[in-house]
Point group: C2
Chain length 684, copies 2
C-alpha cells in the first residue's frame, strides 16, 4: 500500500485523533469538534498551549508533546496558522488532517498562496488533508464525528456513504438519509479539496465493506477526467447517485465558496451519466436515490421496465407522469399478466400498467405477484394510502419479498403516527418505504437509470478506448479548411470533392474537373470567418462566374500566400453541427447540435466525453430536443442516423489522438438519407 | 342565497350527516365512513335496512325513516344503487351528498348514463353532489371527516384548504401539509365532479373565514374557462397554489380515473398562471407553497426580490440555483446595505446576495435586519444548519419579526429530535420553517411568483376584457387567404399589398400596379395547402414570368371558381407563427412560436387565454426558448417586440369577437426592426 493510500485510511478510520485549537469556549468550533469526539472509540488529544483540561480531556501544549504520531489531526485554528500546524503534524508522523477554517483560495491571492503551500506539503510528504474550508467527516463504524457541527451521533448506522463538495451539504444529505429511516455509513465534506478530492474518496469507498451506495454532491469540478475515470471503475461495483449544483448562473457565488469555477452544467451532468452515475437535482432526491440503490439494484438492462401498482388512481397518475417525464419505461403487460390480474380485480379497474386496484382488497398480494412475474417488469413501484382496513403493506410486502426477486419500492401517506409502524416494519425488512408519490417515483427512476447506465457501460466496446498515438494523418501547424477536411477524410468522414489551388490557372483546371455548380472559397489561415470576409462564392456554374468569383476573392487583402478552394456544391439536406472540444477539466469532449439560428438560440445540443462509441453517439441524437427532424420531418426522408453517429464517434477519436488540437468543429454537417457530408470544418 | 349555494354550504358545513350503506363489517367503506364521523359535532344517522346498531349508533332502514332532512348524505353503496338513493335524498329535502363509489363515466357507457342522470337530478333539484368516485372531504372547523379513509382526525386545524381532483391526492396533500407542522382547514376530493367542480369550491373557500391559502390539484379540466374566471376572482383575495398533473403522456390512464380528458398541459399551466395561481410540480411542493402563502404574501410587485442569507455556502448555492432556475430575482444589494453588512461580518464572506455569514456569530440578527431593510428585498430566505452554539433561530427570528414587516422564510436541517424544538417554536410564531434547502427555496419561489402574478393581474388594462359583439369586419362563410388577410387588416395587422383577381386580365392589371417582384397564388377555399398543390409562384418579376405563373396555376384542377392572388414580395426577416384557437375547455386562446422546422420540432411556443393585453403578449415572447433571436441575433437588428405583442393581442381580440372562428393562424408572420407583416393567414 502506498503511503498516500495508507495515510488516507489512517485519516478516515483513525485509532487516535488530536484537536489542534481545542477550546474551553463553548461557541468555538474547537470546542464543538472536541465535544463531537465523545462517542469515538479511540484516543483523543486536545492541543491547546494554555488550557489544562477541556471537557474532561487532558490538554497537550503541542502535537509534538503528545509523544506519538496520531492518525488524524483536526485543525480548529485560523487559516493563517494552518501551514505551520500542518508542517508540525507531518514532522510528528501524523497520517492526515482536517482543516475546518475558510480563508484560502476562495478569498484571494494570500489565501491561494497558503492553499498552494498546503498542497505542496501533502504532495511531498504523503500526509493527507481534508479541506480546507469544510465541516469535516464522520465514520459510523468507529462512531467518529470529526466535525464541529453537532448531531452526527444521532445518525443511525446504515449502508449509504455521502461525499459532498460542501461540508454543509454533507450534513444536510446525511441527516436527510437518516430521516428516511435507513441511516448512513460515512459522510465527508471536501471543501476546497486541496489534497483529497471526490475521486479519492470514491475509490476509498469502493473498497469499504459498510458502503452499499454512494451519494455524491458536486459544485465546480477541478479534475473532471480523474473523477470520470474513478466513477467508471466504481459504479459497476457500487451504485452512485450524484447531485451536481449549478445549472444556472451561480458562478460568482460558487467561486467565493470553494474557489473553484463552476463549469458547464451540461457537460458535467453528461460526463457523470456516461460514467454510470444517476444524476439527481436536489439533496432530497440525492438522499432518496442513494437509499433506494443501497437496498438493491436492477440488473443491467437497456430499458428497465417499472410496474406501477396503486390503490389510488390519483397517486398512480402522479407516479406515471413522473416516470414518463424521466423517460423511464412503464411497459404494457403481457396478455397473460393482464388476464391473470383481470381475474383478481373488479371489472372497472385499469389493469394495463399502471395497475389500479381501486380501494385495495384481499387479492392485493396476488395482483402484486402477477405484476412482478411479468417479463417486461424489472421492479415494482407500489403506492397505497394508509388504510389498514383495506391493505396491510407491512404484512403483504415482506411475504411478497420471499417469492419475488425483483426490487419492490413502496410509497404511502397518512398521519405520521399511524404510518410509522408500517414504514418501520418495512425498513426492518430492507424494503424501501417512501412517504409521498413523488418520492416513490423518484426511487423507481433511480433504480431504472442505474440499471440502464450499467447496461450501457457493460456493452461499450473496447474500440472506444482512447488511443494515445495518432493513427492517421498528422497535422500541419496552422490547419486551414482544406487541411481540416483532409484530416476528417483520414478518419472516414466524407467531405465534398474539391481542390486546393495556388493560382488562378490551377483554379480553372480544378473547375473543369469538378461537377458544376461549385463553391469558390478563399483559403488562408489568416481568415477565420470566410463568409463575413466575402471569401465564399456559392453556385458558380460557368467559367465566367468562376472568373468573377476569383476576381472577387483577389480583392480581399492578405499578408501571406493566397490560395483558392474549388469545391463541388452539396445537395440540400438537414444541417447539423458536430464538434469536439478539449475541456480544461474533463478533457476531450464531443457535441452535436441541430444547425440553424433557432436551434442555436435554444442551445439544442448533446454532449459526451470522448471517446464515444457509435451506439453512445446514437443516444446523443436521441437527446436533441429537435430529434424529430431526423425522423423525416414533413415528408423529408429520415436522416442517416448511423452515419451521423459514426461521424460523432470518429471526431471524438480524432480529438483524442491529436493532443495539439484544442477544438474541431464541422459546421454545417449535412445529413442525407444515406451518408453525411462535412461542408465546412474548423480546427483550433 | 340561491338553493344551490345554500345546499353547497349545508353539504360542506352540515349539522347532520347520514351514511347510506353503513356497515357492521370493518373492511367496508360504509363502516369506515361511519367510524370517521366519531369526532363530528353534529347528528349522525347510519342507514342500513338490516342492522340495528353500528358503532353505537342506532340504524335507520332508509333516509326517509330518519324523519328529518339531513344536511349531508354519504352514499357508501355500489354505483348501480346510487341514482335511486340520490332521488330519495332529494325527496327527503337533504342538502347534498357524497358518492364514494367508482363505476361511472370512467368505466364506459352504462356508467356514463348513470352519471348523466345524477347530474340532471342535481341541476333540477338544487341538491349538491360531491363525486362520484371520491374519498370525500373534511372540515376541521366542525371536526367533520366525510371520508372512508382513516386518519383525518390526526390533522391539526390550520389555515390551508385543499381542493383535489382526486380523493387520494386530497388525502396525500392534506397529510403532507399537516406534516409541515401547520395543519389544514378543509380538504376535498372532487372525483368525477358531476356537480361540484373546482371552481365551485374555490368560490366557496374565498368566503371561508378559516381559509388563508388554497392548494389545488388538477388532472383533466372539463370547464376550463369557468375555473379560470373563478381563479381570477379568488386569487387577489386568497393565494392559490396549483399542481396540474399530466405533463406527459398519461391520457389513457387519466381518462380511466375520472372520465375526463387530460388536455394540453401547456395550456392548462398557462391559464392557471394567467389567473394568478402559483403553479407547482408535486404534492410536496403544493403543500409547501400553500403553507408558505398562508403565512403571508409579498405585496404585488413586477419582480419581487429575494434576499438569501445563509450560514453554509453549500446550502446557499443550492437555494440560489433553484431561485435562478425559477426566474426569481435575487437582486444585488444597495451599496449602503453591503457597507453595513461588511461591518458586521469577517472580511472573507460573500456579502452581495446571497449573504454568506460563514459559521454564524452574534452579529447574525443585525445582518438579517440590514438585508431585510434593503429596498430591493421583498422577502428573506434564510438557511442555517442546526448549530445552537452558533445561532438560535428560535430566538433570532421571532425578535426580527417584530421589526421586519417583510416575509421571512427559514430553512434548516439536523437530527429530527434536535431540530424539532426550533421548528415548533418558529411555527408557533407563524414563521415558516422548512427542513431542506430546496423546500426553503420552493417557499421563496411561491411567494415571489404569487406577488408577480398579482402585480400582473392588477395592472391588466380593462381594454383586454372580451367584447362579445364583433366590432370589425364581418366574415364570409368560407374565408380564403384574401378574406383572412382583410379581416386581419381590420384589426390593424399589416399584410402585404395585394389584389384578388377573378381573371387573367385582372391579374395582369394588378401586376402592373404592384411593386415587383410579386408572388402569385391560387385563391380557392377548395385548396388548404397551396404550396403543396403547386399553387404558389414566388419571385415573379416581369410579365413573361407572370404569364407562366398564371398558366401553371390554371393547370391545378378545381371544381369551383378560380381566382388569383397577386401580392408584393415581403423583405426578408425573422419568421414567427401567431395563432388563436378556440379550446373546447378553456375557450379563446392565443399562441406564438418561432417559425422554421427546428423550432417547430421543439414546439417552442407560448400560450395564453384570450383576450391578452399587449403587455401580457410581451411576456409570452420572453417565454420562448429561442427568444434571443428577437434581440438581434448574430448582428441582425432587434425585432419589433411591441408590434409583435400588439399583433398577438389583436389576434386574440379577433377570436373573442368572432365566435364562429375556431382557429386563425398567421404563418409566417415576418418581423422587422419596425413592424410586422402577415405573409399567410388561415381561418378555420
Amino acid at each position: 500500500m502506498s503511503t498516500r493510500l495508507g495515510n488516507l485510511k489512517r485519516l478516515f478510520a483513525p485509532r487516535s485523533v488530536a484537536v489542534v485549537g481545542a477550546s474551553p469556549a463553548e461557541e468555538k468550533a474547537g470546542h464543538q469538534a472536541l465535544r463531537a469526539l465523545a462517542t469515538f472509540r479511540g484516543d483523543v488529544y486536545p492541543v491547546n498551549p494554555s488550557a489544562g483540561e477541556i471537557l474532561g480531556y487532558r490538554c497537550y501544549p503541542s502535537l509534538r508533546a503528545i509523544g506519538r504520531p496520531v492518525d488524524l489531526v483536526l485543525f480548529a485554528i485560523p487559516a493563517a496558522a494552518c501551514v505551520a500546524a500542518v508542517e508540525e503534524a507531518i514532522a510528528c508522523g501524523c497520517g492526515g488532517g482536517v482543516v475546518f477554517s475558510g480563508g484560502f483560495a476562495e478569498t484571494g491571492d494570500a489565501g491561494a498562496e497558503a492553499q498552494a503551500r498546503l498542497q505542496e506539503l501533502c504532495e511531498r510528504s504523503g500526509f493527507r488533508l481534508l479541506g480546507p474550508n469544510t465541516a469535516g467527516f464522520y465514520n459510523k463504524r468507529i462512531d467518529l464525528a470529526a466535525c464541529f457541527a453537532p448531531g452526527l451521533d444521532h445518525i443511525q448506522r446504515g449502508s449509504v456513504a455521502v461525499v459532498a463538495q460542501s461540508g454543509g451539504v454533507n450534513l444536510i444529505t446525511s441527516f436527510l438519509i437518516d430521516r428516511l429511516g435507513y441511516g448512513a455509513a460515512f459522510g465527508v465534506g471536501l471543501g476546497n479539496a486541496v489534497d483529497i478530492d471526490a475521486a479519492d474518496v470514491l475509490e476509498y469507498l469502493a473498497d469499504d465493506a459498510d458502503t452499499r451506495a454512494i451519494a455524491l454532491h458536486l459544485e465546480g469540478v477541478r479534475a473532471g477526467r480523474k473523477l470520470y475515470e474513478a466513477l467508471l471503475r466504481v459504479t459497476p461495483r457500487k451504485p452512485v447517485a450524484v447531485f451536481p449544483v449549478g445549472r444556472h448562473d451561480v458562478g460568482e457565488f460558487a467561486r467565493s465558496h470553494t474557489g473553484n469555477l463552476i463549469g458547464s452544467y451540461a457537460l458535467k451532468a453528461a460526463a457523470l451519466r456516461q460514467a454510470g452515475a444517476v444524476v439527481v437535482e436536489s439533496t432530497e432526491e440525492l438522499a432518496a436515490a442513494a437509499v433506494a440503490l443501497s437496498l438493491g439494484r436492477i440488473a443491467p438492462r437497456a430499458q428497465p421496465g417499472i410496474g406501477v401498482l396503486v390503490g389510488q388512481a390519483g397517486a398512480g397518475l402522479i407516479v406515471l407522469d413522473r416516470l414518463k417525464a424521466a423517460g423511464v419505461s412503464v411497459p404494457p403487460l403481457a396478455p397473460e399478466t393482464v388476464a391473470r390480474i383481470e381475474q383478481l380485480l373488479p371489472p372497472m379497474t385499469f389493469v394495463r400498467n399502471p395497475v389500479d386496484t381501486g380501494r385495495p382488497g384481499p387479492t392485493f398480494p396476488d395482483v402484486l405477484a402477477a405484476l412482478a412475474a411479468d417479463e417486461q417488469i424489472d421492479a415494482v413501484a407500489m403506492f397505497a394510502i394508509n388504510e389498514p382496513a383495506a391493505v396491510r403493506p407491512e404484512e403483504v410486502l415482506p411475504a411478497a419479498r420471499r417469492t419475488i426477486a425483483k426490487p419492490i419500492v413502496f410509497g404511502t401517506m397518512g398521519p405520521e403516527a399511524r404510518v410509522r409502524p408500517t414504514v418501520e416494519a418495512l425498513r426492518a425488512h430492507g424494503i424501501l418505504a417512501m412517504e409521498s408519490p413523488e418520492r416513490l417515483a423518484h426511487a423507481a427512476i433511480a433504480l431504472a437509470r442505474d440499471a440502464a447506465a450499467q447496461w450501457r457501460l457493460a456493452r461499450a466496446p473496447a474500440s472506444t478506448t482512447a488511443r494515445t498515438a495518432p493513427q492517421h494523418a498528422s497535422l500541419p501547424a496552422k490547419p486551414d479548411e482544406h487541411a481540416a477536411k483532409t484530416l476528417l477524410e483520414a478518419y472516414g468522414i466524407a467531405t465534398p470533392r474539391r481542390a486546393a489551388c495556388s493560382s488562378v490557372e490551377e483554379a480553372r483546371e480544378a473547375f473543369r474537373a469538378l461537377a458544376k455548380p461549385v463553391v469558390v472559397k478563399i483559403l488562408s489561415a489568416e481568415i477565420a470567418h470566410k463568409t463575413e470576409a466575402g471569401g465564399v462564392v456559392l453556385n458558380v456554374a460557368d467559367e465566367a462566374a468562376l472568373e468573377a468569383a476569383l476576381a472577387r476573392l483577389d480583392r480581399i487583402p492578405l499578408a501571406g500566400a493566397r490560395r483558392y478552394l474549388i469545391e463541388e456544391m452539396a445537395p440540400a439536406g438537414l444541417e447539423l453541427i458536430v464538434g469536439a472540444v478539449r475541456d480544461a477539466s474533463f478533457g476531450p469532449t464531443v457535441m452535436v447540435g441541430i444547425g440553424g439560428t433557432a436551434a442555436e438560440a435554444i442551445k439544442d445540443t448533446a454532449m459526451r466525453l470522448a471517446p464515444v462509441s457509435a451506439a453512445e453517439a446514437q443516444e446523443m441524437l436521441g437527446e436533441l430536443r429537435a430529434a424529430a427532424l431526423l425522423d423525416g420531418w414533413r415528408g423529408a426522408p429520415p436522416a442517416d442516423r448511423e452515419a451521423l453517429a459514426e461521424t460523432i464517434a470518429r471526431l471524438g477519436q480524432l480529438l483524442c489522438e491529436h493532443p495539439r488540437i484544442k477544438e474541431i468543429e464541422i459546421n454545417p454537417l449535412r445529413v442525407y438519407a444515406r451518408g453525411v457530408l462535412a461542408l465546412d470544418a474548423l480546427i483550433v
